[in-house]
């Protein structure tokens, strides 16, 4: 006969106000197998825990039911306390009588709440009787981290992990690390030059002996699980030998062919053998194989002729490498909303309507104009610029429903940069609201208006069109209640930040979730903001949603602390909620193998003494199994069961109904 203890928590008044906990405790005591029961004010408090442990020891309890808050709150607490009192922690079960009973049934007579609590407690007691002792699974940890994306968030994460003494590989799809931040001119609210604060970090990452940079590379496949990921990486052919190239630049100086520069967002051209920008890390060029005449039709080859160290190799092929990692950090960043979405603003049709990011390039000292603000159409200095905020953001019908968060701030910065460079220029800003939450952010926006004379107009723009070399902007000023028409020289759109176009493919490769806007889902938006549902995969920066540089950097450091905690021991323990196969009844139909989303079930050969295969059996890999239980229901011979949620346990609970 089991010796079960039932502990009913009053949770102050949270449970007690609608549930008669003493009555529940008294009734529970009458149930077969229950030898002890009590009602207590706060079971989770220190005295509550002490009483709990004491009761287990004094009454020699071998099974525990705690009727209290949701198991998502305190299951771990009570299992730990049970373990401390000498019990197997999996002999402790929680009946959820707060979130799913006392808080949702407001009957002051306590009748409804007490009856339901009794049912829930009884079901849990019956389930508990079928519990088996389980032991936590320990798995080895590979102490190497993979960082996907070499923007500021990824660089920060890599530096912090590497400084903690562990190897890191940064996989970056572009020829250089740096990400979107490398494109920025100055950064708000300090007006630091972006390159000046970013490039030292890029160089530090390159020179760090624990960090390897796999630029021009992409993730092909991810196998395995926390502590033991096996990742296949495609290192695209650069046609340049990285070990001998000195980055002298002779090749791209001499290359006679040009293509549109991705980094400059169409504002200038680059060569066909190129580095995306002068401060690129690593400073090694790549050949654009879709444009190079030598590769396409075996003509030219000038770069190879001028290369001193003979680093050009036109025969180079994509390399596929497979490496092992313990943790994966996703820091893939953001894209900008495509041009095609802003017909009424003339973006993509009128040359002098540009995006905020293109304005960054114009203002950047290393940009196509050397930092001078010039109209793309005729290279003249614009005397008035209209900035349109929320281009796509907060516009559910044609754009995205969310606020892109950084546009209010960078638009204020643009107006300042513009005034600093064109002293007689006038900036107009059409805005919906100004969102400047953040340290010294509000003061920054006020500065743009008060010191740098930006004219802020609250309202939307209805139409942008070209007339006599000017860009005419029609809109409403809702504060004065009038229609406005501005003859501008240039228009800058604060285009919405959107998730990467490749976001869903990578999510499926990694087994992580994404929201309606294809930004990756955190495990918990408040309390686990950098974890994902897949253990060992972490998120940093704008791949999880719009955020600014300080936030991305903090997240980079946050994921590093998660990875370092994981790497702090050689082995890690995980919950033993895994599938088990009954070797007697398994008839090797492989329905479980086919249904498993984690490829955690393999076909095992059973051999006799001579080594002949006599039988085939399904075998569960505890490291890979995540405990979803799909295989249990797929099994025709009922040979598979799920620890912690066995058929016996579920049927016992149903039978009490």
């Amino acid at each position: 006969m089991p010796r079960i203890g039932v502990f009913v928590c009053q949770c102050g008044n949270n449970i007690e106000s609608t549930v008669d906990t003493q009555k529940v405790a008294d009734e529970a005591k009458e149930l077969p197998g229950v030898v002890y029961s009590c009602s207590y004010k706060f079971m989770c408090s220190s005295p509550g825990q002490e009483m709990f442990k004491q009761a287990i020891k004094e009454n020699k309890l071998d099974g525990i039911v705690v009727s209290a808050c949701s198991p998502h709150m305190h299951e771990k607490t009570f299992r730990r306390a049970s373990e401390a009192a000498g019990l197997n922690p999996f002999q402790c079960e929680i009946a959820n009588i707060r979130e799913q009973c006392s808080w949702v049934h407001h009957d002051p007579t306590k009748k409804v709440g007490t009856a339901k609590t009794m049912d829930l407690t009884r079901m849990t007691i019956q389930r508990l009787k079928k519990n088996r002792d389980l032991t936590k699974i320990t798995i080895p940890v590979t102490k190497r981290a993979l960082v996907i994306g070499g923007g500021i968030a990824g660089i920060q994460a890599a530096l912090d992990i590497a400084d903690g003494g562990h190897e890191v590989v940064i996989v970056e799809k572009e020829p250089s690390i740096g990400g979107n931040m490398a494109r920025l001119s100055e950064t708000f609210p300090t007006m630091d030059c972006s390159q000046c604060i970013l490039t030292p970090k890029m160089v530090e990452a390159e020179l760090h002996d624990k960090i390897s940079l796999y630029t021009y590379s992409e993730i092909e496949k991810v196998d395995g699980y926390i502590g033991n990921f096996k990742v296949t990486i495609k290192r695209k052919a650069k046609f340049v030998d990285e070990s001998t190239c000195t980055g002298c630049g002779e090749c791209w100086e001499k290359c006679p062919f040009k293509a549109e520069s991705e980094f400059e967002l169409g504002l200038s051209k680059r060569k066909v053998i190129y580095t995306p920008f002068p401060q690129a890390v690593p400073n090694i060029p790549v050949i654009d194989k879709t444009k190079c005449p030598k590769i396409l039709k075996d003509k030219c080859g000038l770069c190879a002729k001028v290369c001193g160290p003979q680093s050009i190799d036109f025969t180079q092929e994509d390399q596929i490498v497979t490496e092992e990692f313990g943790a994966i950090i996703v820091a893939t960043g953001y894209d900008l909303m495509p041009k095609t979405r802003f017909g009424e603003y003339g973006y993509g049709k009128i040359t002098d309507v540009i995006s905020g990011m293109q304005f960054e390039r114009l203002a950047s000292a290393s940009g196509p104009t050397g930092g001078a603000i010039r109209r793309p159409s005729d290279n003249t200095e614009p005397k008035s610029i209209v900035f349109i905020q929320c281009a796509g953001s907060r516009d559910e019908k044609r754009g995205v429903s969310y606020c892109s968060k950084i546009c209010c701030m960078y638009t204020a910065k643009h107006t300042m940069l513009y005034r600093h460079k064109v002293h007689d220029g006038q900036a107009y800003v059409f805005y919906m609201d100004i969102r400047s939450g953040g340290k010294r952010y509000e003061e920054f926006v006020r500065g743009a208006i008060e010191n740098d004379g930006a004219m802020y107009l609250r309202g939307r723009v209805s139409r942008v069109y070209e007339k006599d070399g000017k860009v005419i902007v029609q809109g409403a000023d809702t504060l004065s209640g009038s229609q406005v028409e501005i003859e501008a020289d240039m228009v800058v759109l604060a285009t919405a930040l959107v998730s990467r176009s490749s976001a869903t493919t990578l999510a499926q490769t990694l087994g992580i979730g994404y929201d309606k806007d294809k930004f990756y889902n955190e495990y918990h938006p408040k309390l686990k903001p950098v974890e994902t549902v897949t253990a060992g995969v972490f998120l940093a920066g704008t791949c999880a949603g719009p955020m600014d540089i300080p936030e991305s950097v903090s997240q980079g450091s946050a994921v590093a602390s998660k990875a370092l905690a994981l790497f702090s021991s050689d082995k890690m323990a995980r919950e033993p909620i895994t599938a088990i196969v009954n070797t007697k009844t398994c008839n090797a139909c492989w329905d479980c193998v086919n249904s498993c989303p984690y490829v955690a079930i393999t076909k095992e050969e059973v051999k006799d003494r001579r080594g002949n295969v006599v039988r085939m059996l399904a075998k569960v890999n505890d490291g890979l199994c995540q405990g979803c239980g799909v295989c249990v229901c797929a099994c025709r011979s009922k040979a598979v069961d799920l620890n912690g949620y066995t058929d016996e346990q579920v049927y016992a609970a149903i039978a009490t109904f």
């Binding site: 808080w103 549902v533 229901c633 949620y645 609970a653």
Partner: protein, 156 residues
């Protein structure tokens, strides 16, 4: 214990309060139901939840067993398609459900007594509405007597 439960179901004949068993997944619907509590919403007290890791773990037999043990209705709810914590478990559940539906009908279970829904961890309001609607629907249908009569005969 089952005797006591059966006694309760016979008691409830006079003023009919349906008994509904809900099989929900741990990650979406269970968390959604918790959120309804944290937000102090109110709903009908007729549902008893059994938590499973995933809707993919829900064996069709659970449904039959629930009816056999006196349930007047059964509710199954998990993550929305595409949002499964285990990537594809809810697709298995949905496929299994489609295949099993006709079989349930064949065993004499009125299909309007079985509800299938998707409730995410943030959809507390949907959960409350779901429970209230399902309770109303099952109340309108009256107690599920077919299996209870069978049980009685067995007992005799």
């Amino acid at each position: 214990m089952s005797e006591e439960a059966k006694a309760e179901t016979t008691d409830s004949k006079e003023s009919f309060e349906p008994k509904i068993m809900a099989f929900v997944c741990n990650w979406c619907t269970y968390a959604g139901a918790d959120l309804a509590g944290t937000s102090r919403m109110e709903y009908r007290p007729n549902v008893r939840i059994i938590k499973l890791p995933c809707t993919g773990r829900i064996d069709p037999l659970f449904i039959i067993k629930a009816f056999e043990n006196g349930a007047d209705g059964v509710l199954i709810s998990g993550c929305h398609p595409g949002d499964c914590h285990y990537t594809t478990g809810n697709y298995h559940a949905r496929r299994r459900w489609i295949a099993f539906k006709d079989l349930l009908d064949f065993t004499g279970i009125d299909m309007s007594r079985v509800h299938f829904s998707w409730v995410s961890a943030s959809e507390a309001i949907k959960w409350v509405e779901l429970i209230n609607n399902v309770t109303d629907d099952i109340s309108a249908l009256g107690p599920f007597m077919d299996f209870k009569r069978l049980n009685k005969k067995e007992a005799e």
